[in-house]
């Protein structure tokens, strides 16, 4: 047992090290969400909203981009990393060692969780310092649970997504083709009350909007703390379970060609 904990810890360390040294991964996961946050806040402005007790527009922008950052750190990051390692033969080689496979997969997800935590803290800090967006204390427990649940579920979805990606070259295209449209129907950039019905339905199906709304609820002082968004967590967990099932049944260790 002790040995497994040690192995898990050291594997998470190597995964984070490899992530830090991978310029593409760090750009998409860390830099891009920050650019989006700055960009959208300057486009849509950050004035005090009428009749909302000094609440600023960015109060709704920060959680949206935070949702994007969480999906980037988990689904996007894991899908790309897993495909690259699989096609390089690294996964198959690990499979040939005494390391229990679940430790390897668990370590990947844990590393994503760490990156998610760092990104969440960064986004909240930037919101506070640059845009005067304060996370109400009452919203903190809900936010922590939302981030934790989402990080685990979206990690499982990322690993599941790697199953249908045939090559390193296809990884960015397929991953973005999946997540980008979902962002647009999930209140990440814009709130979709006036969008066509079909897009609203799409937003209802995919899990990202539930993440965005759960985060918004923690940031909005009128809803922070109560009630906790159980229904939103439920949908996210449901998608996570789907991811776990796909991973358990179909995860590929060998390069696609072999």
């Amino acid at each position: 047992m002790m040995r497994m904990v040690t192995q898990l810890r050291s594997q998470v360390g190597y995964d984070l090290l490899a992530f830090r040294r991978n310029p593409a991964a760090t750009f998409f996961t860390v830099v891009l969400p920050l650019i989006f946050l700055l960009l959208f806040t300057s486009i849509f402005g950050n004035e005090v909203l009428e009749g909302r007790e000094g609440l600023r527009a960015a109060t709704f922008c920060v959680p949206g981009i935070l949702a994007l950052a969480i999906v980037s750190a988990t689904t996007v990051n894991l899908a790309m990393t897993t495909v690259t390692r699989r096609e390089d033969g690294a996964l198959k080689r690990v499979r040939g060692t005494p390391l229990p496979p679940w430790i390897f997969v668990f370590a990947l997800a844990t590393a994503s969780l760490v990156i998610t935590a760092v990104m969440t803290a960064t986004m909240i800090a930037i919101g506070r310092v640059l845009f005067d967006v304060t996370l109400p204390l009452a919203g903190v427990p809900g936010l922590l649970i939302t981030v934790l649940v989402a990080a685990v579920a979206f990690s499982a979805m990322g690993l599941a997504l790697s199953v249908i990606i045939p090559s390193v070259e296809a990884a960015p295209a397929i991953t973005n083709a999946v997540v980008l449209p979902v962002y647009f129907v999930s209140d990440v950039f814009i709130v979709t009350d006036s969008t066509p019905r079909l897009l609203r339905v799409a937003g209802d199906v995919f899990p990202v909007r539930y993440l965005t709304q759960a985060l918004v609820r923690s940031f909005d002082p009128t809803t922070a703390g109560s009630p906790l968004p159980w229904d939103h967590w439920g949908v996210i967990v449901g998608w996570g379970v789907l991811g776990v099932v796909v991973v358990a049944r179909r995860f590929r260790w060998s390069p696609w060609g072999s």
């Binding site: 040690t6 192995q7 050291s10 594997q11 190597y14 090290l17 490899a18 040294r21 991978n22 390692r85 390089d88 033969g89 690294a90 198959k92 080689r93 690990v94 499979r95 040939g96 060692t97 005494p98 390391l99 229990p100 260790w253 060998s254 390069p255 072999s258």
Partner: protein
């Protein structure tokens, strides 16, 4: 008695309707280097992946270090080293980090310092893998399989794509494994590689072992025969000499100003030479540029594959 490292009996593997392995038998003793030789698509990689525990057999008995690899516990892998056909070590870690990481997967790994010394990358230890030359990267890749100090090492086409110098280096490393008491099972389609490294060679074609033994045994086994030839005009072979040679089991042919005497049976070579030298002395002609040619492994191998393919085609037709 030491139990064998690998025992395979009547191993079969089908994908849908395609029979990839059609009854393979193998036995590898401990400490042996065995080369598994065959053309592309013969079933080499399927076999080695079943032995490595990556694939399940459709039927047959497979035991590697006394265990069915597909159902083996993780601990079984402590004694197994695997070099994959095509794999690239992660480029962003340094050599030392990668070796440390792989060492952490085993209970009693070799020390990273030892490994660095043995692959001659002590000075490059702090460099990222991506900055190493292709040859150095492949050396790291080979060494990753050995970091757990395995008793049995699998190498799937270990030198494919190497330049001649890198191949020689890799051969040195593989041969060195035997000195450590390691058993080595390697697949290759390079004949010289099998010849240089292996104590025993098993040839696979169309999913069956068609020959097995040392280089010399293989040559005997398929009776490619020996050719005795010399420079001469056809007239020197009289009817009398032809009859004598036929009695010795030899057949006479002519090519490019040479007489070729094909001897099917190794045992008859001495008698054929005796008859020839006798006839030459009596007839007063010289056996100029006399050559006794035994088949190289390459010729043996090609003859084997050709013969097998003919049989298979004959059956299907």
């Amino acid at each position: 008695m030491v139990p064998p490292a690998i025992v395979v009996e009547d191993l079969r593997k089908s994908y849908g309707r395609a029979d990839v392995l059609r009854g393979v038998d193998l036995r590898v003793e401990q400490g042996e280097i065995v080369a598994f030789l065959g053309p592309n698509g013969a079933g080499k990689t399927t076999t080695i992946e079943i032995l490595e525990g990556f694939r399940a057999a459709s039927s047959g008995r497979v035991e590697v270090l006394g265990t069915n690899p597909y159902k083996a516990p993780r601990a079984w892998r402590e004694d197994i080293g695997i070099v994959l056909q095509s794999s690239r070590p992660p480029r962003t870690l340094t050599v030392r980090e990668l070796l440390d990481m792989h060492g952490s997967y085993y209970r009693s790994p070799r020390s990273t310092a030892d490994v660095l010394a043995s692959i001659g990358l002590v000075e490059e230890a702090g460099q990222r893998i991506g900055r190493l030359s292709g040859g150095q990267q492949r050396r790291v890749d080979l060494e990753l399989a050995l970091i757990g100090d395995p008793r049995l090492v699998f190498l799937d086409e270990p030198t494919t794509g190497f330049d001649p110098t890198a191949r020689r280096e890799a051969w040195g490393m593989i041969a060195g494994l035997r000195d450590h008491g390691c058993t080595v099972f390697l697949t290759t389609h390079y004949l010289d590689e099998a010849q240089y490294l292996a104590d025993n060679i098993a040839v696979i074609s169309s999913g069956r072992i068609i020959a097995r033994g040392t280089t010399d045994e293989l040559a005997v086994q398929i009776q490619v025969g020996t050719t005795v030839s010399w420079l001469a005009e056809p007239e020197v072979v009289t009817g009398e000499l032809r009859a004598l040679l036929a009695q010795a089991g030899a057949e006479v042919g002519f090519s490019a100003r040479r007489v070729d005497v094909h001897v099917g049976d190794q045992e008859s070579v001495a008698r054929v030479l005796h008859e020839l030298t006798g006839a030459a002395l009596v007839g007063g002609w010289s056996l100029s540029d006399l050559r006794v040619h035994r088949p190289t492994l390459e010729e043996t191998y090609l003859a084997l594959i050709e013969a097998d393919t003919d049989t298979v085609n004959g059956v299907t037709r």
